[in-house]
Symmetry: C2
Subunit: 343 residues, 2 copies
DNA sequence: GGATATGCCGTAAACGTTTACGACGCTATA
DNA sequence: TATAGCGTCGTAAACGTTTACGGCATATCC
């Protein structure tokens, strides 16, 4: 005898009452409820996931989907760890468990999400690294699976999303550089169709145009979003006859490799070239210090969790209604890397 | 009508036969098996996780347990991403899904693992960041839950484990430094009781003793295993009257902060102090280049997965028997950071 | 005091799948 | 021809939980 039966037998009451007591249903005496909770704790009873899920459809699990694999990663750094931290503080209040769904780079993300959904793996999903056109969104929305996207997309299904305000970042960074006299400003960009890349490139273009400048195509340095990509950018950038005098980076890790590539050529950020990037634990310790934009990943995680729960019937009572679509602002952290000024 | 019933109705055969066909059971005609597989693909049928798990006990999911939370992380970097990559290539062959079980820093790891097991969440577990004495191991072994540990522990339950060879690392690094004339050699260490910290400290002590040197307690710089910890080490190290002339680091990220802290004081690795660390994507791009020890995380992941599957009855036919207990060797990557020599 | 409401609890069906068991038709053997 | 064996398939019971439903007390009302 095991499971809820054992608990019921031990207490000499029916399994129905035990279940109701544990799940906080109304029609159960407070005295017996306490007896049940006490016994459950003593016997270490934990409801079986499969049984519960099969009957009620709820698993008590929220999945955070992320891609793995050598190329795409680089994003996979401490970024997600910070977000997880925030998400979990919210979920803990509802006895929800957060698990990371690791989609291999060899598997199609849409097929993966379909599999997860069909298997009834999680009650809700958080998807990240949204593509400009993202089939996952359409699929989830159509099936009415509760989900929230970290990142916008052209695929609009009236779904909730959160995103970092890369437009504001591009504008602020470029305005700052233009104000310091820069005219030939380069930017970095991912070479896949992840949405933030598009947003960043286009807004950079507009910000430059507003200052009477144009973003030439060869001033867009596409790279893998990791340290090696940054190193590669430095090499390509330095061998150009019309070197840019400043560069704005869209990824946290590329600054590391960029610094290295520049220093090998004796080029020093803040003295010979202006660099603006995004904040991260290791970017913080670059020398010379990186002028960067950052935000509280934990707060993003909290907002992400709340946005998701607001769409789930079982939890939405505790959260403000309405599908949230929210841009999260960056804050400037002044460093030395953009001290380089032109007349 | 949905699920397997729909598929059976569509094919006009019983659900039992459909199930047997899909699961590769012997007593089913090859022709009908093909019909079933074809129809399943067309209708996009995926067996419901809960139903399957409830009946057969198998979920098709392997959990990789890792801690989240601001303090402990720092390990959470690209390290795990590399391991995941290897694990998944093995699991893909068996239609097993890898998910990361994120244990919040506010929850007791043992309670967490008990909850996961009692819920019947996964068929097998990979646990990481093993403690010197780790209650998770005893619990899992006692319940006969298939698992493998990434990291050794004093808690020996005859269980399979893999670990990086930190003894060899300590010995090689210290021998190298001693050969270059160093006598006052410092090491870094975590301040919790994670097993690798203990191993590293003790082996460093032995390696020094073998050279007639002693590891003074105040030459052990305990810190958080991240960039900030490295920065802190630099500050503490520099204000000492009897500054060490060399330091060996046990973590991948601390080198970043250490470099920064040293450079602020005008101390340059390889010229004024010798530094040896562990390899990582960002350590690779430090300047001056870091002399470090590294290995293929992907291969570690592959070995980890194979070690786990070898203990699971459903899969062990494909893998060599015997519980694996294996140390993984580091390889030296020579850099400039330990060029500093003493007479 | 009878009818009605209320609080609490037990019963049993249902969720979707796997699998032990038995049934059926066919072939091979005696 | 009778029997045994084999290949294939359908039937139905289980897995552990939740929950609709009904039943039994006790309290409340006229």
């Amino acid at each position: 005898m095991k499971g809820i039966r054992r608990l019921a037998q031990h207490l000499d009451i029916s399994i129905g009452t035990v279940s109701r007591a544990l799940n906080g249903k109304p029609d159960v005496n407070e005295a017996t409820r306490e007896r049940v909770l006490k016994a459950a704790a003593e016997l270490g009873y934990v409801p079986n996931q499969a049984g519960r899920a099969l009957r009620s459809g709820a698993t008590g699990v929220i999945g955070f989907m992320m891609q793995t694999g050598s190329e795409i990663t680089g994003q996979g750094d401490t970024f997600f760890m910070g977000v997880f931290d925030g998400v979990q503080t919210v979920f803990a209040r509802h006895q929800l468990d957060l698990v990371a769904l690791l989609c291999s780079s060899e598997e199609d993300p849409e097929a993966y999400v379909q599999r997860i959904v069909a298997r009834g793996f999680a009650d809700g999903l958080i998807i990240s690294a949204t593509r400009r056109k993202d089939p996952r969104i359409e699929y989830l929305a159509q099936r009415h699976i509760p989900f929230v996207a970290l990142g916008r997309s052209l695929s609009d299904a009236g779904h909730p999303w959160l995103d970092l305000d890369f437009e504001a970042y591009a504008t602020a960074a470029i305005d700052r550089l233009v104000a310091r006299g820069h005219r030939r400003i380069a930017i970095s960009a991912p070479h896949d169709d992840v949405n933030l890349g598009y947003v960043f490139v286009e807004q950079s273009r507009r910000a430059l145009a507003a200052r009477g400048l144009t973003l030439e195509d060869d001033m867009i340095f596409r790279s893998t979003p990791n340290e090696a990509g940054g190193y590669d950018i430095a090499k390509r950038l330095l061998q150009r006859p019309d070197q840019p005098t400043a560069i704005v980076l869209i990824n946290e890790s590329v600054s590391i490799g960029l610094y290295r590539g520049l220093s090998e050529a004796g080029v020093r950020p803040g003295r010979d070239i202006a660099v603006i990037g995004l904040n991260s634990p290791h970017a913080t310790f670059l020398s010379p210090t990186l002028t960067c934009f950052g935000l509280s990943l934990r707060n993003v995680g909290i907002a992400l969790a709340e946005a998701l729960l607001a769409t789930m019937p079982a939890y939405q009572a505790d959260y403000p209604q309405g599908t949230v679509r929210r841009l999260w602002p960056f804050e400037l952290i002044e460093g030395e890397s953009d001290d380089y000024r032109l007349p």
